[in-house]
């Protein structure tokens, strides 16, 4: 599963962000990103037939504000914190759901409800992930971390 996630995550991120959010992010080398704060995070647990994974997304406030404002069609003012958090959870849901479809479109997966992990987070939040991916544009950075949930703990049956 991890191999499939590694192979497909960037494609899924592009499909979701470009199709529904009109955002075009480039993949960035994670190792060159400075340790810094100002991130908002959400995560979702996906349980599969034999194991599962947790997908955590950290978005820089500046990027999330731009994406949320565009997505909600706000012509004036900035999206509220609640609106920004809802948009981040929606992105997390869509990325995880589409990733699962790439893993095995015929297998049963249990896609959890996205949860907010916090505001004013730092990159340390996802340092324990087995894989971390970074994407960004001039408005900011989106970090995506993957944690594998092995065996029965990650299986939903």
């Amino acid at each position: 599963m991890l191999k499939t996630i590694r192979l497909n995550l960037t494609k899924v991120i592009s499909e979701v962000l470009e199709t529904m959010f009109f955002v075009f992010l480039e993949q960035l080398p994670v190792e060159t990103l400075p340790q810094r704060g100002g991130y908002v995070g959400s995560k979702v647990v996906v349980r599969g037939p034999e194991s599962g994974f947790e997908l955590e997304m950290l978005a820089q406030e500046s990027l999330l504000t731009k994406v949320a404002g565009d997505f909600l069609g706000l012509e004036e003012g900035s999206p509220s914190l609640e609106q920004r958090l809802d948009v981040l959870k929606e992105i997390t849901n869509m990325v995880a759901g589409n990733l699962v479809n790439h893993c095995d479109p015929h297998a049963d997966f249990d896609l959890g409800i996205p949860m907010l992990t916090g505001t004013a987070l730092t990159t340390a939040e996802i340092e324990d992930c087995v894989d971390t991916f970074a994407y960004g544009d001039e408005d900011g950075v989106l970090l995506v971390g993957v944690r594998v949930i092995p065996g029965k703990a990650g299986a939903f049956r």
Partner: protein, 89 residues
């Protein structure tokens, strides 16, 4: 018309669809299900329960427009004798 995500906290979209279809006041409302999952059985289950349509995220604006046009067009074809009330689509 109701557009609902299948994947929601508390009451999911399938439960909402069931409740809407069970209530005579809302049973005739067209319900469109929105989801990230592509499994065919989810779509066929929703349609079997009375959903008017199904769309997978991410979708383009023209995709949802085509779906809505098809459903609204179908409705007006079935009920073109009545004058629309003020406030109707």
């Amino acid at each position: 018309m109701v557009l609902t995500d299948i994947h929601m906290p508390g009451m999911d979209g399938v439960q909402l669809l069931r409740k809407l279809k069970e209530d005579p006041m809302t049973a005739s409302l067209p319900v469109i299900m929105i989801t990230t999952e592509s499994r065919d059985e989810i779509a066929s289950d929703a349609l079997a329960m009375g959903a008017a349509g199904y769309i997978k995220k991410p979708f383009r604006p023209e995709d949802i427009k085509a779906l809505l046009t098809g459903i609204l067009g179908g409705e007006s074809a079935q009920d073109d004798s009545s004058e629309p009330d003020e406030g109707d689509f």
